[in-house]
Amino acid sequence: MSVSNLLENWSEFRHKHPVEDVPHDPYKWAMSIDLDACTGCNACSVACYAENNLPVVGKEKYAHGQAMHWMRIERYWPEDDREFPDQGAQFLPMMCQQCEAAPCETVCPVGATNHTPDGLNSQVYNRCIGSRYCSANCPFKVRYFNWYDYPTTENVWPAEMTQQLNPDITLRGKGVMEKCTFCIQRIRVGQRSVKNEGRVLRDGEVQTACQQVCPTNAITFGNLIDTESKVHQQWKAQRVELAVDEQTKDKEEGGSDLRGYRILEELRPYPSVMYMERVRESAI
């Protein structure tokens, strides 16, 4: 700690983020989710429970709104007054959007949630004191608080089931906030293993649990900087840019015939998850 460091690197400390001149390098993790492919089957959500040691809170606590599903599948109905939803329902997998300018990060009193150099919104369980301000300020409400001490709660993980727990991740005790991490444990293992080879991760070498399991490949995860990655190509093809609050394509006359969009983009959190609109056939 020194004031000289402060003064010497003053301009660096005054940078806003994300900016063009200091991009993430070599990684910026991002997702794209094709809502036309998503069937709402919930496999991703179960995969998340399995991978990330999420507690099954039980009926009573679920009723109190204390469920811990980092990834939830939302189901929307058409909102005109049709008698039957004759174009089906619409499903939306919602998890932490890993915002580049995350509203949750600034408000944490102890700095338990930060932005990592590879563009993730990290959550430091050890540091968290449970003020829950991050959740209060999250527009998507994708942060989940440990209202109880689940590791010791009856029937959450009976002794037999503790053997299933993923040792790469800690169990969270009571009073700690948690959320989707883009399976950071997998990312870190991957990054470390390629570090020895002196290269960066290639597309597909790290998959998130939800992506890996998705039966329709609706979820694409990868490095947005890597031009070879599918996620990069999808964002590019959909003309969705990261650090804007309104996409150029949407400002064009007549709108856009591309499907990519981001949820609550206008609030300027710069989410790292792009959704692609569900399509419904016009001929039927």
């Binding site: 069937t39 496999a43 939306l92 037999e160 001929a283």
Partner: protein, 735 residues
């Protein structure tokens, strides 16, 4: 900045390896259960147990009958997570929620761990020797036709061994019962295509019209079809596939349809014939007999009978005519009526008319060794078994992988009839409803501890034999694999013949190696071959392709939709959900807490009712309704659900257990109990959708435990989940 030359991670690495070495050479526990307190549980750790490093083994999922190949992550000798095996043509590396919950089946705290012998109302722990002795004793003096085996679907070498055992007992009474099965369809397909289960290529179709086939949820092989569906949506020749779903209660597949056509319950066949009629009207050349058969099904009549507007009917016909090939699927919703076979025939006829047979409906391959082909289950088998029990023809009953007391309608009195058998043996994982009625309960290894082969009924390409192998050591010393048990039992009869097999593993190995020539190149070493086979987890064989017939049957007798019954005005649709199915895995908490995709309800049962009807009856969400059929009543919370025909109500299957374990018992209700005994006329299958019910408000109201908020599926005008019409989007440049 924190600048430190000493890399902490490197330090930990060094420490970690050193520590592991000490641990490896140190303590003396041999089982994981014993060694819980130690870092590493083995003295002589297997080669693959490297502390901190995960290893992956392929096996086969036993959570449903689809036969997906799984890839289990194992660390420190414990299986942690199941992924899909990427080389499996069934699931291509993907999984469903139910499959992933297999680890919770394995680690379930409510598994039976010791053989139990009934002693009054209690179970007394006994040894396996005693159990085997007891079975031998009870079988002594009982003739073969007094011994019944009631099982779920069995396939592979377990089926072979079971057959051999039955043969040794000179019993032919193997009843394969599945409460939820496409049995009517099998019969109809046999007639229409010459095989029970042809290959359906959704990915080759430009239009899929599904009559109640929930192929994205619980129908036949959902993970496989989901992948086909994804390709279908991406498009054949650049044209995005169009899905039309016809059903009375929206399934998850219906929720993903471009057009969901709600029909009056039971009129699926009428609609199918109506579409043929409309196709003819639109200029499609129909064979004369077909044209004659559908003559009466003009669009006004069909629209009146089914409730589908003439406009939609015309548009559907136009679309089918314009975009070929298409595919018409037939699912449980269309089958579940007294005229289910007729419905099925009508729907299959549509495929014939559209010329889909041979294009999107292709011949499946025969399993090269018929003895390992799956014995598919149906309801008729239970009926037979139940009759035998009722008549006292069965003295010794073995049950395996089935829970008939839970899934049989109460009116069958299966529980009472089962008591008539002198000696009941349940091979089971849980003390479920059926096991509780048994005299001897024999605990099984979990699917992740056991050996075996699984052959799925639906084979997407050739035949894939799934190899099931233990992903870790047994959790409990006194559980046994089903194969081992059968081998032990068969040795009681034919010791000489089977003496060379120490256990089921050696039986399996011998059996598979015997056919090495069929699967592998000549001259491969046996051990190499065996190891390759285990590491692949699957055996792909070409199999002889069955011959597809394109047989048109126009003798279809569809009844007009009945008048609504005044006393019982609603059709009860017992819905099959993707995660709970017939309730055999309800004790897996991930499945209980995984919200139903359409209602987002967890941990409980509910009654779906159309909001319009609910308003008429003054029902609001959370009202406890008594749903009463002629055969009983159950009480569950009301959920206002727009995706259901106003004449129908729907309750999901799978919940309402009175036993089985802490996560299943006492949650929800079991609609199997109140089903009416109406049967499909041709196949004698239980017509699951023929139960008529009435609703009564009990006056209680609760808050429904669900994930959706108070505004339900409304986005409140915010841009959250966006939908776009296909003519307003350019999919050509997409990646």
């Amino acid at each position: 900045m924190i600048d430190n030359d000493f890399d902490r991670r490197d330090f930990l690495k060094v420490l970690g390896w050193g520590g592991a070495a000490v641990a490896l050479s140190g303590c003396g526990n041999t089982s994981i259960e014993d060694g819980k307190e130690t870092v590493v549980s083995y003295v002589h750790a297997a080669d693959y147990v490297i502390p901190g490093i995960s290893v992956y083994f392929n096996s086969t999922c036993a959570q449903c009958e689809a036969g997906c190949s799984i890839n289990g992550r194992v660390r420190e000798g414990r299986v942690l997570k199941l992924e899909g095996n990427t080389s499996s043509i069934i699931n291509r590396g993907k999984m469903c929620g139910l499959g992933q919950a297999g680890v919770q089946h394995h680690y379930n705290p409510d598994r039976v761990r010791e053989p139990l012998l009934r002693n009054g109302d209690k179970g007394e722990t006994i040894t396996w020797e005693k159990a085997y002795g007891l079975i031998a004793e009870k079988l002594n003096g009982v003739s073969g036709d007094q011994i019944d085996f009631l099982t779920g679907t069995v396939s592979g070498h377990l089926k072979v061994l079971l057959g051999n055992y039955l043969e040794s007992l000179s019993s032919e009474n193997h009843f394969v019962y599945e409460a939820v099965s496409p049995a009517v369809q099998r019969a109809a397909n046999m007639k229409s295509y010459g095989m029970e289960m042809p290959r359906f290529s959704i990915n080759k179709a430009k239009v899929v019209v599904s009559f109640g086939a929930d192929f994205l949820g619980a129908w036949v092989s959902p993970v496989h079809f989901s992948q086909q569906y994804a390709e279908f949506r991406k498009g054949v020749d650049g044209q995005r596939g169009v899905l039309v779903q016809v059903e009375s209660k929206m399934t998850i597949t219906g929720a993903n349809a471009d057009r969901w056509l709600v029909v009056r319950p039971g009129t699926e066949g009428i609609l199918a014939l109506g579409v043929i009629n409309a196709l003819g009207a639109a200029g499609l050349q129909l064979p004369a007999d077909v044209a004659a058969a559908v003559k009466g099904y003009d669009k006004e009549r069909v629209s009146k009978d089914t409730g589908v507007s003439t406009e939609h009917l015309a548009r559907l016909a136009a679309l089918l005519k314009e975009r070929t090939p298409s595919l018409v699927l037939l699912g449980s919703a269309a089958e579940g009526y007294a005229h289910g076979s007729e419905n099925a025939a009508a729907i299959n006829l549509l495929n014939h008319v559209l010329g889909n047979v041979g294009k999107t409906i292709e011949a499946s391959s025969a399993v090269p060794f018929p003895q390992i082909a799956p014995a598919t289950g149906n309801y008729a088998a239970l009926r037979l078994a139940n009759n035998r029990l009722a008549d006292g023809q069965c003295k010794v009953l073995f049950t395996y992988a089935t829970n008939p007391i839970f899934t049989a309608p109460t009116e069958m009195k299966f529980k009472e009839n089962m008591a008539k058998a002198g000696f009941k043996v349940a091979f089971t994982h849980y003390l479920d409803e059926t096991a509780l009625q048994a005299d001897l309960v024999l605990p099984l290894d979990s699917a992740l501890e056991d050996w075996g082969t699984i052959v799925a009924e639906y084979q997407p390409d050739g035949v894939q034999i799934g190899v099931q192998q233990p992903l870790m050591e047994k959790l409990y010393p006194n559980t046994r694999g089903m194969g081992d048990i059968l081998l032990a039992l068969i040795k009681q009869r034919r010791a000489e013949e089977y003496k060379s097999f120490d256990d089921f593993y050696s039986y399996l190995r011998t059996a598979l190696l015997k056919n090495k020539g069929e699967f592998a190149e000549a001259g491969v070493d046996e051990d190499v071959y065996w190891n390759d086979l285990l590491s692949a987890g699957i055996i792909n064989v070409g199999g002889n392709v069955n011959k597809l017939v394109d047989k048109i049957s126009t003798n279809i007798q569809l009844p007009p939709p009945p008048e609504r019954d005044k006393d019982y005005p609603f059709t009860l649709i017992p819905s099959v959900t993707a995660s709970l199915r017939d309730g055999r895995h309800t004790n897996q908490p991930w499945l209980q807490e995984s919200p139903d995709p359409l209602t987002t309800i967890v941990w409980d049962s509910w009654v779906e009712i159309h909001p319009k009807k609910a308003a008429e009856l003054g029902i609001v969400e959370g009202d406890i309704l008594e749903v009463e059929s002629r055969n009983g009543s159950i009480k569950a919370q009301a959920y206002l659900f727009p995706g259901i025909h106003p004449d129908a109500v729907s309750i999901p299957l799978g919940r309402g257990h009175e036993a089985m374990g802490r996560y299943a018992k006492g949650y929800g209700v079991n609609p199997f109990q109140i089903l009416d005994r109406v049967f499909d006329k041709e196949t004698a299958e239980l017509a699951m959708h023929e139960t008529l019910v009435k609703l009564r408000k009990t006056g209680q109201r609760i808050i429904v435990v669900k994930d959706e908020g108070p505004v339900g599926g409304s986005q409140q005008g915010r841009k959250i989940a966006v939908s776009v019409s296909s003519d307003q989007v350019d999919l050509s440049e997409e990646v």
